[in-house]
């Protein structure tokens, strides 16, 4: 399943109240400024984690200094992991330096960190079950 959701409200905030089973609320903090967008990808398996076009769901949220939040509904029960980056210049890429180190803010569910690279799917994994899930994460710059 692959869905591409774009939230672009007049306020620059997407707001929905998680209520139902399968709903996932994502709260992304630590955003340094309101330039560009916050790009969110949700993965449902280790073998698809951080792949090209292998997300279960993806969101583009208008950036906002501090925090943005979004809700994705109707996700099947299972194990997921989220990666996020702040596409401040709007080029739809995580910009990097000549060693491939991110030059824009990024983060993962569980605030998982890898050593000199992304964390493992397991380190970022969380469960969506019978209850609505809430994931808080902070971007690092």
């Amino acid at each position: 399943m692959y869905r591409y959701l774009v939230f672009l409200t007049a306020l620059g905030i997407s707001i929905a109240a998680p209520a139902a089973a399968g709903d996932l609320e994502i709260r992304i903090g630590g955003i340094s400024n309101g330039d560009g967008r916050v790009m969110v990808a949700v993965f449902d398996a280790a073998e698809r984690f951080m792949g090209e076009e292998t997300q279960t769901a993806a969101l583009m949220l208008p950036a906002r200094k501090g925090m943005v939040r979004a809700v994705i509904g109707d996700l099947p029960a299972g194990i997921y992991a989220i990666s996020v980056y702040h596409d401040a210049n709007g080029n739809q890429e995580l910009d990097t330096n000549m060693l491939g180190m991110p030059r824009e803010g990024y983060g993962f569910s569980n605030d998982a960190r890898g050593i000199a690279g992304p964390p493992s799917f397991q380190a970022a994994a969380f469960e969506i079950g019978a209850d609505p899930a809430v994931v808080d994460l902070r971007l690092s710059y």
């Binding site: 060693l99 990024y106 605030d111 050593i115």
Partner: protein, 511 residues
């Protein structure tokens, strides 16, 4: 003073530690039951010189007019900036290495025969976040803090605590594994991380860039997870001329390098970073393994074309600092260094001093090295009985043939009140003569920098400017010496009403 007299005047020096390959790993995770803070406090009560490893009482130190002795020459006008680790604990959690704490800049403004002092922390992302959270959020160079996740980036843990340099109108506070921080030279406000380009943003940048006589800034950085050295050429206007990568297997911490007229010269000591050890919980320092069988590889890179490299080899040795290098007509490269037999000092003395202990380590010998055009190499000892550090030169001789080498020395260790340097010295590389001043028994001698006398052109015509921590009086002093007659002692001194944490490196910026 002739070399033989110099050696005769030096008593038996620090004991060699027997470091075996692969035995450098130490438990260094600060954890519950941590006793480093109490151990330091107890030792501090007995050893006044440990003031040099205390966190300052205030995050801003300011004295508009220092008490002075002697005459500060009116022609000496400018600011002497120094940097060094100063915030040695976060929320009561004491770091376990001298090199860990957040950098504090010390500015001595010299004008009209008067001296003023201002000290302020570099407002790095790490410093600001930890102040706000009032708990450790980042590991240090030699300390794993409990519950702190891996760093999001090198700059997330960058304490900007090693040196400070002015180039192209910018004052830059330097670490060695992340970005420089640009500083307001008047107020010491932190302007922010500096990047010369998007491509080099966030890359490691040395604490010891070299400025040549044309105003070019040459730098390097070690990218250990990529097994590569980054090279930088910044033009006199402050713009990036070029950057490059040189892959290096078995890479580890590399603290300093040199340039000659034609080459970048980077000796790579056999202290090898093993990422698995970091993943296994070792500190960054303890993730390094001493592998003397590798020898010291010396990378030579063409300054005009970073893809043109040559390799040379020297015996295994640990070096923090080089004074200068130059290239003869036949292509032979000559340089000086303060050379340790192994990196034990970094794992012993400079670690355990943070709990107030003095552990023995091999001393540093001042050495001259010749890399001959044919590939052979010679190394010759300049001092073999006094520990030498912080080599500096007259900047007018950067990357060309030079004669005068300045450094600090640890003389006569047997009766010393502290285990650090107690003298400042000049060595004439052509005659072998020494000219030195030994400070008082309670004074720890920090790096002294050469300041050319305005209007002069001859090498060595100028002053040495450097700080000392007088543990007896509990104050830090700024000292000015005639660089041609160090034996006469300071021609002027300025006395702070407080002590500063011992720092690392600095530079003078003329008004």
């Amino acid at each position: 003073m002739r070399r033989r007299h110099f050696i005769a005047a030096s008593a038996a020096m620090a004991v060699h530690s027997a470091l075996e390959p692969g035995l450098l790993i130490r438990a260094a995770t600060a954890a519950s039951g941590d006793d480093w803070g109490p151990a330091f406090a107890a030792a501090r009560a007995r050893k006044p010189w440990l003031a040099g490893f205390e966190t300052p009482a205030s995050d801003r130190l300011e004295t508009p007019r220092l008490d002075i002795d002697g005459v500060w020459p009116a022609e000496l006008a400018g600011a002497f900036y120094r940097n060094g680790p100063a915030r040695h604990a976060v929320a009561g959690q004491r770091y376990r290495h001298w090199f860990d704490g957040d950098g504090m800049l010390q500015k001595f403004t010299i004008a009209d025969g008067r001296v003023a002092h201002l000290g302020r922390y570099v407002a790095t992302a790490k410093y600001m976040a930890e102040i706000a959270a009032d708990r450790p959020l980042a590991d240090g160079f030699g300390t794993r803090m409990p519950g702190v996740p891996p760093a999001a980036s090198p700059d997330a843990i960058n304490p900007a605590n090693i040196s400070v340099i002015a180039h192209a109108g910018r004052l830059l506070a330097l670490w060695e594994a992340g970005s420089p921080h640009e500083i307001d030279p008047a107020t010491l406000d932190t302007i922010g991380r500096h990047a010369w380009s998007d491509e080099t943003s966030g890359l490691p940048f040395t604490a010891h860039p070299r400025i040549d006589r044309d105003g070019n800034l040459w730098g390097f950085g070690y990218a250990l997870f990529r097994g590569a050295l980054v090279l930088y050429h910044i033009g006199p206007d402050g713009g990036l001329r070029k950057a490059g990568l040189v892959p290096v297997p078995d890479l580890g911490m590399v603290h300093d390098f040199m340039v000659t007229a034609r080459h970048i010269v980077i000796p790579i000591p056999p202290l090898v970073f093993e990422a698995d050890r970091l993943a296994g919980g070792a500190s960054f320092l303890d993730a390094h393994v001493w592998k003397p069988d590798l020898g010291t590889r010396v990378l030579l890179v063409d300054k005009d074309d970073f893809s043109r490299v040559e390799w040379r080899r020297l015996p295994p040795q640990w070096i923090f600092h080089y004074g200068n290098a130059w290239e003869e007509a036949d292509g032979s490269i000559r340089f000086d260094a303060c050379r340790y037999d192994d990196p034990g000092v970094m794992f012993s003395l400079l670690r355990y001093v943070m709990r107030g202990e003095v552990r023995p380590a091999s001393p540093a010998y001042a050495m001259q090295t010749v890399l001959r055009a044919g590939g052979a190499a010679d190394q010759q000892v300049i001092t073999d009985q006094a520990s030498a550090e912080f080599p500096r030169i007259d900047p007018r001789r950067a990357a060309v043939r030079y004669r005068q080498l300045y450094c600090v020395l640890g003389l006569g260790r047997g009766d010393a009140a502290h285990p650090f340097a107690n003298a400042v010295a000049r060595h004439d590389l052509e005659t072998g003569d020494w000219d030195l001043h030994r400070y008082g028994p309670d004074e720890i001698v920090e790096e002294h920098v050469f300041v050319p006398r305005p209007g002069s052109t001859d090498e060595g015509d100028g002053w040495l400017l450097g700080t000392t921590l007088d543990a007896g009086a509990g104050v830090t002093r700024l000292n000015l010496l005639d660089a041609r007659r160090l034996a006469g002692g300071p021609v002027a001194r300025a006395h702070l009403p407080y002590s500063l944490p011992l720092g690392l490196h600095g530079n003078f910026v003329g008004a």
